[in-house]
């Protein structure tokens, strides 16, 4: 007996704005451009959109509850509207709430959008993020982070990566193998920011950001926006694009008690999320044809592979070292280049590429067998996890 939510909703539209080092626009512009393209992609009209979910990045978009973006676009009959944020897990999460809404008749076509414009001309990509948590007059217990220079997400992911290395013998070269594999995919993606070849020697030579993380372990920072449209499965067939049916959905937020026995750095919320999503989809990990794994850092991909059971806990390093994530490998992963090489749109990066692969529109990088496409989202410092299982097949 199939799960009652399995394949009852589909992603029917995808819009990607001009992307990357694009200057002179705010996030609202990118959000609007992405939405306009998604609506056209689906073959819908503005008037068909009756739901809007907005995920702001580090620069503002949408205003309180998304109403700013609603009014900017003149969406005058929304039956669903909200602003949401669980970091890089939000894109999948928005699609999940949208799917449940359309399945139960609260809306027909829900737009889910992420947009951000942190890059400014002449400023490094990291500058927009590195200052997070910094204060001239830090106070309270959190002041300890400032006192010891633990600023920004790089510092925290370095701690997680170091812990994994110490526990399981994971090496820099194994992380580098992830960066190299994704660059091979990026070379085949016309909208990837970095398409030039990358070798393991290039990885080894890249500068330290926060040891054990090198620059090439870290995602890009991008200006842009991505929007997707979620519709009922029954309505999807009549629209312009091949539907990407939503087979499975799940989330995992394990919390962090910040004490002995609580190791979210190396054991994330992914197993919890996977369990819900795979049970709904009726699949096992061996059924996954294409993986789009959240990749704010190389390490995030590695720990995700372990936590979904593609390999045993601690064996992520050897698992990725032989190139199986790369073109021609047995587990094609982050096939657009991901956030390490293509574009950094939080959870919309893996989701957008998953839709392209599920539709069979990947061109040079299309994976021939793409019946089951797994999308993972990760937010905060491994605080949030979300899962989507997509398929071109309605059953």
């Amino acid at each position: 007996m199939a799960h009652e939510l399995r394949a009852k909703a589909a992603i029917t539209g995808l819009g990607i704005s001009d992307m990357g080092r694009v200057y002179g626009h705010d996030a609202q512009h990118f959000a609007a451009e992405a939405i306009q393209r998604a609506v056209a992609d689906a073959g819908l009209k503005k008037e068909d959109i009756d739901g809007l979910l907005v995920n702001p990045g580090v620069t503002p978009v949408g205003g309180m509850g998304g109403v700013g973006l609603q009014n900017y676009l003149g969406l005058t009959h929304l039956r669903l509207l909200s602003s949401m944020n669980v970091g890089g897990a939000t894109a999948n999460a928005m699609v999940q709430y949208a799917a449940m809404a359309v399945i139960h008749g609260m809306a027909n076509h829900v737009v889910c959008v992420f947009a951000d414009a942190p890059l400014r001309e002449g400023r490094g990509g990291g500058a927009a993020y590195a200052g997070m948590g910094r204060s001239a007059r830090p106070s309270g217990m959190s002041g300890l982070y400032s006192a010891f220079g633990v600023f920004g997400v790089n510092a925290h992911y370095a701690l997680a990566t170091r812990r994994h290395m110490a526990m399981y013998g994971t090496t820099g070269d194994q992380l580098g193998a992830i960066a190299v594999a994704q660059r091979q995919w990026a070379a085949k993606n016309p909208i990837a920011e970095h398409r030039e070849p990358l070798t393991i020697d290039d990885y080894r030579a890249s500068r330290w950001v926060a040891e054990p993380l090198r620059l090439l372990d870290c995602c890009l920072v991008s200006n842009g926006g991505v929007a997707v449209i979620v519709s009922r499965a029954g309505d999807a067939k009549a629209l312009r694009q091949p539907p990407a049916y939503i087979w499975g959905m799940g989330q995992g937020h394990p919390g962090d008690m910040r004490r002995k026995g609580w190791d979210v750095e190396t054991q994330t919320g992914a197993p919890m999320s996977k369990k819900t999503a795979f049970a709904m989809a009726g699949i096992g990990v061996q059924d996954v044809d294409v993986l789009q794994a959240y990749d704010c850092y190389t390490y995030t991909v590695l720990v995700t592979l372990e936590d979904y059971g593609f390999c045993a806990k601690g064996e992520g390093g050897p698992f990725v070292a032989d190139g199986k994530l790369a073109p021609g490998g047995s587990l094609p992963s982050n096939t657009g280049g991901g956030q390490l090489s293509a574009y950094y749109m939080w959870g919309m990066t893996p989701l957008s590429e998953a839709i392209i692969q599920a539709r069979g529109q990947g061109g040079e990088r299309q994976v021939p067998k793409h019946d089951v496409v797994l999308v993972t989202g990760n937010g905060g410092i491994l605080d949030h996890h979300s899962t989507l299982v997509l398929s071109p097949n309605p059953s």
Binding site: G126, A130, R134, S135, A136, R137, P138, S139, G140, M141, S142, G143, L144, Y145, S146, A147, F148, G149, V150, F151, G152, N154, A155, A158, L159, A160, R162, R163, A166, M167, R207, W208, V209, A210, E211, P212, L213, M257, R258, R259, K260, G261, E265
Partner: protein, 134 residues
């Protein structure tokens, strides 16, 4: 001259910072379920009791993880790259700090550590850690 950010105590953390000035590592402890906690917050995350006390911790712990920061931040320019650490205290909670008097290649995750107290300004003491005697 000490150029790095100096944390200011607020109501919830005053006992911690005052304790550090006395060269004592103070932690919150739930009087209902006896669980230690950090950061200091009025409500126990285990049993939700607000019946709370401050108690002196042993100062012993292990190195949960560490990093070497190479990005430049205001106040840290002079000694970048610099090391930072998360220490798992014997009582359970983890605290952000750094490890002193150990060469970089001598740092090992899970190595035993002991709190040391560094009076960085007239009214602020930071709790750092050093290698514990075997």
């Amino acid at each position: 001259m000490y150029t790095k950010p100096i944390p200011q105590a607020d109501d919830e953390s005053r006992e911690f910072y005052d304790g550090a000035r006395r060269h004592e590592l103070m932690l919150m402890r739930c009087r209902a379920c006896r669980a230690w906690r950090l950061p200091s917050r009025p409500r126990c995350p285990d049993c939700w009791s607000t019946d709370t006390e401050w108690a002196r911790a042993s100062g012993r712990g292990t190195l949960y993880s560490f990093g070497i920061m190479h990005q430049k931040f205001p106040g840290f320019e002079a000694d970048t790259p610099f090391q930072y650490a998360v220490v798992e205290l014997d009582e359970g909670p983890r605290i952000v700090s750094n490890v002193v008097d150990v060469p970089p290649d001598g740092l090992r995750v899970d190595m035993p550590l002991l709190a040391v107290f560094d009076d960085v300004s007239g009214d602020t003491t930071l709790i750092r850690f050093t290698k514990a005697a075997a």
